[in-house]
């Protein structure tokens, strides 16, 4: 696949933006400024950036909680996300929800329900609507390796396969589900083998190579968009932080982390861009500077934003309120 230089640089920008935003959230967490937990996609950013960037404007993302790249790419700004972390009124959910439990229909992003893989059937339903209405839109739904053990994975995959719905199922296989390694999660070698049960084509990609993720997703979206039905994409990667920022992840062998550190998706992309003379180091540095500034501004914005009022608790339960 031929990818425009501009797109490659954007992919780099979003990798950086995701990393820096989550790094900053981690710091704020350790400073006690974020009251809830912080889960990052550290080390696996290429997954959400890759599949998120491959979507078209009118498509839908049904993400899970390590999909920061998707939020940013779709148009949920770093400011709103930072404010979200701090529980501010200007956050994506106005303080109603914390951290990554966000969504915004204006940008075609479904909210993430914490219950893992609930978004597979939900995503399939949006795809069903597109197919019924004859719209050339697709859905990308994502979950973790652990999330593939849930019943909703099975039911969502099956419905999509039976009806050839325009959806692509992504799996961020980062080797662990909290402390649970793959071998206690499934008795197969590749998560992608799960797709066999649905007669669904699958692909395995290097989840640390954003270009590969992007290309695979793009291709699968086009198949789906043209009536070819769903694809399952397993992105092999490695969670480099703990499950959340309070987890030291002692259960992960250090060697494994060492090994994967070399494959860091940002490093990888830098080498790729510079090595293939697509961009100069200085150009990347200037992108990084822009990112840094964006995050700083986001933080200031978030810090200066007001909190919601206690009475906001009672607002917004129903879309059609019932008169008393």
């Amino acid at each position: 696949m031929d990818i425009k230089r501009e797109d490659l640089l954007q992919l780099y920008y979003y990798l950086k933006l995701t990393r820096r935003l989550e790094d900053r959230a981690t710091s704020l967490y350790h400073q006690g400024k974020i009251l809830g937990g912080v889960w990052t996609s550290n080390g696996t950013e290429a997954v959400s950036v890759g599949y998120g960037y491959a979507l078209e404007k009118n498509d839908i993302a049904a993400p899970y909680f390590r999909d920061m790249g998707v939020f940013l790419i779709r148009g949920i700004t770093a400011k709103r996300i930072m404010a979200q972390y701090l529980g501010k009124k200007t956050g994506v959910t106005g303080g109603k929800e914390g951290n990554v439990h966000v969504g915004d229909l204006h940008f075609g992003v479904f909210g993430f329900p914490s219950h893992l893989t609930d978004n597979y059937p939900v995503g399939a339903g949006a795809a069903l609507a597109f197919k019924m209405r004859g719209e050339k839109r697709v859905v990308a739904a994502c979950t973790g390796d652990g999330g593939t053990s849930r019943g909703d994975f099975h039911e969502g995959m099956n419905i999509a396969a039976v009806r050839k719905l325009p959806i692509v199922f992504i799996c961020n296989n980062n080797q662990y589900a909290y402390s649970t390694p793959l071998k206690l999660q499934m008795a197969i070698k590749n998560v992608a083998e799960r797709a066999l049960a649905y007669g669904m084509p699958s692909k395995i990609v290097d989840g640390n190579n954003v270009v590969e993720v992007y290309a695979a997703a793009k291709e699968a979206y086009e198949v789906a968009r043209n009536g070819g039905g769903p694809t399952f994409i397993e992105c092999k990667t490695m969670r480099m932080h703990g499950h959340s920022e309070h987890d030291s992840a002692k259960y992960v062998p250090r060697e494994l982390l060492e090994e994967w550190k070399k494959k860091d998706p940002i490093l990888y992309m830098e080498t790729y861009l510079v090595g293939n003379q697509i961009a100069k180091k200085e150009e990347l540095d200037s992108i990084d500077l822009r990112v840094k500034k964006e995050i700083e501004e986001a933080e200031v914005f978030a810090e200066e934003s007001p909190y919601s009022e206690p009475e906001d608790v009672l607002k917004g339960l129903y879309a059609t309120p019932v008169e008393e």
């Binding site: 609507a129 019924m132 917004g316």
Partner: protein, 324 residues
Amino acid sequence: MKETTYLEAIKEALDEEMARDPDVFILGEDVGVYGGAFRVTEGLSEKYGEWRVFDTPLSESGFTGAAIGAALVGMRPVVEMQFADFVSCAFDQLVNVAAKNHYRWGAATPLVVRAPYGGNVHGGAFHSQCIEGFFFNVPGLKIVAPSTAYDAKGLLKAAIRDNDPVIYCEHKYLYRRIKDHIPEEDYAVPIGKARIAIEGNDVSIITYGAMVHTAIEAAQTLKESGVSCEIIDLRTILPLDRKSILTTVKKTNKVVVLHEQTKTGGVGAEISALISESCFDYLDGPIIRIAAPDTPVPYSAQMEEAFIPQPKDLITAVEKLMRY
């Protein structure tokens, strides 16, 4: 005005709403060519095509999730549970995704779940349950339960037009057993408004669903012995019509709450508590609840009859209250 059964009224509501609004569609097990286990959707597949009356794989969580996803992108899905009992398999999607979408991230989920519920049909523990208790403590859902053909049609229309997830409890026992003269022209019964089924002065009987007919039967007998019952048919269970409840209590000063659902933690408890809280000073006697005992629904005719509240149980309660 034409004579219509409860079941036909439901079908008419579906048919008319599908004709009116192309976003309305039906999904569930065997709803298509077969027309549903109770034949509620019979003929609709021929009329609207197999995509708008959509046969799903056997997967309640999956197709409820899919309905949620379709709703999020503008459709108005009506899910049929083959029996209400199977809604337990879709509990997570309803409680954590559908119910919380709007509050959490501002997205409307216009979804109807048709739940053929209730006993007296020799179905045993898995084909007779009253399921309103599963959802009654879940903010964000609405629950309706028509007792007449008129309401069956009007409430289903209102539910389909509502922008929130509505659990529509249709009582299997009533399907072919009751008939109403219902208007030819379009109408909807507003969600959140109870009705006075029978006006009276001495005692209020607050109930819903099939038990409305039990109450009417009891009221007729009681009338012969000079007791005038006011019967409130709640129509909507969540949120409750507080005003109607408090108005009747202020009028009669005596209350019996009647439901088929098991007693502990039933809707009756909330009604009783509401009354105690808000018009304690109007009460001339204890609030009596008549409900099924706290067990699964038994199968044999003898046991099921003992399980389901009967007119005589209500009469005994009212007579006791009248002695106060």
